[in-house]
């Protein structure tokens, strides 16, 4: 049988060794007589090769001593921490003071953490506020219809002013947890300049806040690094999937709204 209609995808899979033996053999036979096929295939073989060559110098570059040292410290700290107590949150090695970016999200676990509420029990939104961790987080802070609406409409990467309590809502990401429940990571700024970094997951027809860190401070509506480190540890614990892409997120959020 003669086929000249191999798609680009088929040819690419051939070039990447991702094609089954039968079709591979067919392509090989065809290549003996079809120059155009060879040329199309060459693109995929050569781009793979060229990409690898072009990225090789990055691999050979010496690692910055600072990075190696920092990672070694983290490893040493984690190894000893586990031997002693199984502690799970570690301070980050402080980077050079002149690194302006580092201060935003890699600062040491800091005093700016006013409260941490991280429980797999969590508490429920929209029930008039009966948080399991009494008094730590003002119940009104998260249980408002405005917040629920924001969770279902604001796409990740966008902000919205919540009506009522003068809070600013920022959607960070949408993902699925270990049990495939839909979760959203978000931040809420309050007028007192505190920021709540939070995760809410869908449970039935409700949003359940499963994680919240209140970060006080001077960050001007920007969760300080220490709170996001705690968040990272939490996301790891629930085995959070990668953030949904915009298209998928829009679909999922649209589906939630339709249920209403």
């Amino acid at each position: 049988m003669t086929r000249t209609d191999f798609s680009d995808e088929i040819l690419m899979r051939f070039a990447d060794g991702e094609l089954d033996a039968e079709i591979s053999a067919e392509i090989e036979r065809e290549m003996e007589t079809d120059d155009a096929l060879v040329a199309r295939l060459a693109l995929f073989i050569e781009t793979r090769h060229a990409a690898k060559i072009a990225m090789q110098p990055l691999l050979e570059e010496p690692l910055p001593a600072e990075l190696t040292a920092a990672v070694e410290r983290v490893i040493a700290a984690k190894t000893s921490a586990q031997n002693e107590s199984g502690a799970s949150v570690l301070p980050f090695a402080r980077r050079a003071a002149n690194d302006r970016r580092a201060s935003r999200w890699l600062a040491p676990v800091a005093a700016s953490l006013a409260a941490v509420i991280a429980g797999f029990g969590g508490y429920w939104l929209g029930r008039g506020g009966q948080p399991t961790a009494e008094g730590v987080l003002p119940p009104t802070a998260l249980s408002s219809p405005a917040l629920e609406e924001a969770l279902e409409t604001v796409v990740s990467g966008e902000e919205r002013q919540l009506s009522g309590p003068n809070q600013r809502f920022r959607a960070i990401a949408t993902f699925r947890d270990n049990d495939q429940a839909l979760c959203r990571e978000f931040e809420v700024d309050s007028p007192d300049r505190s920021t709540v970094v939070s995760v809410a997951c869908r449970a039935g027809a409700e949003w359940r806040v499963t994680f919240a860190v209140v970060a006080r401070g001077d960050s001007g509506g920007y969760a300080p690094a220490s709170s996001t480190e705690t968040l990272d540890a939490y996301l790891t614990a629930i085995n959070a999937g990668a953030p949904l892409e915009a298209e998928e997120e829009a679909k999922v959020l649209g589906g939630l709204r339709e249920q209403k």
């Binding site: 690419m12 890699l106 902000e159």
Partner: protein, 180 residues
């Protein structure tokens, strides 16, 4: 249990150059990449028990690092941080090709990779450079394997055109169904 931490720690040390390369190609700047690598190491060690022996360690690490990066980008975006991370100068500078004299209108391969849309570049890096299978790349990126293939094909066409890898332009016109 502490064996898992020890194991991950040892693998991490050996894997740092690759992890850093991937980070640089994601964020395009070395200082940002180094922070990202550090954060990814931290997270990996904190969840060392979740790594399943027998599965690919590199894929696991790439996934952790990339998820951290996406979060960071969104935070910065919402915070209105103006950053120069869109310029991927570090990527092209790495190969030294930029300084090569006989540069006509074609870009170097490294430059062309740096210019790819993010979602194409990451697939290209994982499959062609880090040699993950389509399935493994799909798992790292949490996308269907079909999406991996379509993005990868687009990335390679763009790369071929930008860097002049296309073998014969006359023939490429004969190809059908390639331009979406």
């Amino acid at each position: 249990m502490s064996n898992a931490v020890k194991d991950v720690g040892e693998r991490l040390t050996a894997f740092l150059p690759n992890l850093r390369r991937f980070a640089i190609s994601l964020c395009g700047a070395r200082d940002v990449a180094d922070d990202l690598v550090q954060a990814a190491c931290e997270r990996a060690l904190a969840s060392a028990e979740r790594f399943e022996p027998g599965t690919r360690f590199d894929a696991w690490m790439f996934r952790i690092l990339r998820n951290l990066w996406i979060d960071q980008v969104r935070r910065q975006k919402t915070a209105g941080v103006q950053d120069d991370i869109s310029e991927r100068h570090d990527l092209a500078g790495a190969s030294g090709e930029r300084e090569a004299e006989a540069r006509l209108t074609l870009k170097t391969v490294a430059e062309a990779i740096g210019d790819l849309p993010d979602e194409q570049r990451e697939v290209l890096l994982l499959v062609c450079v880090e040699e993950l299978s389509y399935r493994e790349a799909a798992d790292v990126l949490d996308i269907p394997i079909g999406t991996v293939m379509s993005r990868l094909a687009r990335a390679r066409k763009a790369l071929g055109e930008a860097a002049g890898i296309t073998t014969t332009t006359a023939r490429s016109r004969v190809m059908k169904g390639v331009n979406e």
